[in-house]
Symmetry: C2
Subunit: 205 residues, 2 copies
C-alpha cells in the first residue's frame, strides 16, 4: 500500500507551520496589519474556518507570525553571530548576517517584518506592539552586550559608547532598508558597508 501521507491533509503541527510560513510572506509585503484570514486561507489552500481553528482569534495569529519572524531573525542573525568568538569578529558577523538576512528575498519577499511592523505599530498600543517592543529591546541589548565584550577584550576603545554604537548600527540598517527597497538606490549597500567600517574604526583600539 502506498504511503498516502504526502497527499493527505497535513497533521496539525505541520499545517500550522505551513500557515505561518505563508503568513510571514504576506506580512512581509502587506504588513502585519495587512493580513486577512481569507487571503491567507486561499494562499494555503484551505477554508477560512479550517485555518481559523488553529488560532483562537486574529490577534493571536498575528502574534504567532511575529513570534516566528522573531525566531527566524534570531536563528539567522543573532545565533550565528554569537557562535563567533567574542569581540570584533562577533560584531562583524552580526552585521554581515544581518545584511544577508535583509537581502534574502526568498523567505521574506517584502523585507523584514519587524522593520515594517515597528512603523505600523508605533502608535497602536496592544499585545502586538508590546511584543515588537520587547523583541527590539532584546536585540538592542544583545548588540550592546556584544559591544561591551569587544571593549572588555580590548578590540574597541574603552571610551566606546555602546548605546551610541548600537543606535547608529540600527539606524544604518533602517536607512539601508529604506534606500534599497523604497528608493532603489544603487549605492545603498556600499553606503551601509562603509558606514559600518567607519563606525568600527572610529572605536577601534
Amino acid at each position: 500500500m502506498v504511503n498516502l501521507a504526502i497527499i493527505r491533509p497535513l497533521r496539525a503541527q505541520t499545517t500550522k507551520k505551513t500557515i505561518l510560513d505563508e503568513a510571514m510572506k504576506i506580512a512581509s509585503t502587506h504588513g502585519i496589519q495587512g493580513i486577512t484570514i481569507g487571503e491567507l486561507a486561499k494562499k494555503v489552500g484551505m477554508s477560512k474556518s479550517g485555518l481559523f481553528a488553529h488560532f483562537e482569534n486574529k490577534d493571536n495569529l498575528q502574534l504567532e507570525i511575529l513570534r516566528m519572524a522573531s525566531e527566524h531573525f534570531v536563528e539567522s542573525v543573532m545565533k550565528p553571530a554569537f557562535r563567533e568568538e567574542k569581540g570584533l569578529p562577533r560584531i562583524v558577523a552580526m552585521f554581515n548576517h544581518w545584511l544577508a538576512f535583509l537581502n534574502d528575498h526568498s523567505t521574506l519577499p517584502g523585507g523584514s517584518i519587524f522593520v515594517s511592523a515597528s512603523f505600523e505599530l508605533d502608535d497602536r498600543p496592544g499585545v502586538l506592539k508590546d511584543f515588537v517592543q520587547k523583541s527590539q529591546n532584546d536585540l538592542i541589548l544583545n548588540m550592546e552586550k556584544a559591544v561591551q565584550l569587544a571593549i572588555d577584550c580590548k578590540h574597541l576603545k574603552s571610551s566606546t559608547n555602546k548605546n551610541d554604537f548600537a543606535w547608529k548600527l540600527y539606524s544604518y540598517v533602517l536607512g539601508y532598508h529604506h534606500f534599497k527597497r523604497m528608493l532603489n538606490h544603487p549605492e545603498a549597500e556600499e553606503l551601509i558597508k562603509n558606514a559600518f567600517k567607519e563606525l568600527v574604526n572610529a572605536n577601534r583600539f
Copy 2:
C-alpha cells in the same frame, strides 16, 4: 436675518481642507493604508457619500493625503531651512526643523506619514508608492544640494561625500523616529543630536 454661513455646510474648498487635515491625523497613526472612508467621515462629521464626492476614488484620497503631507513637510522643514544663508547654517536649520517636525504631536499625532508610508508601500507598486518615491528622492536631492553648497562656500571639506552625508542624516532620522516612538528610548534625542554634530564635525573645514 442672522448669518447662517457659520453653521451651514462649508464650501467645497474649505470642506476638502477639513477632510484632508483630519485624514492626515488618521494616516499618521493608522498608516496611509489604514484609512477608511467611513471612519474618516465620522470623524469629520459628514456622510460617507458626501465626503466621497470630493474624491473620485479612494486611491485619489490617499494620494491627496500624501500630497498634503509632503507640502506640510516642505513648508515646515525645507523652506525655513532654505531661507537661512547657504552652508552650515542651512544644514543645521534643516536638521533642527526636521527634529521639531518629528516632535510636533499636535498636527501629526502618529509621527511622520512619509516615514511609515515608506515602509508600508515599499513592496506595493502603484501611484502611491511612485509619489512617495518621488518625494523622498526630492528630499534627498535637496539635502545633497545643501551639502554641496556648504562645500562650495568652504564650510565643509571638499572631501565630503554628499551622498554619504545625506544617507547618514536620513538614517539617523529613521533611527530617532524608531527609538523614540516604538521603544520610548529616553536618550533618543540626545543620540541623534550627538550623531549630527559628529557628522558635521567630521566634515568641517
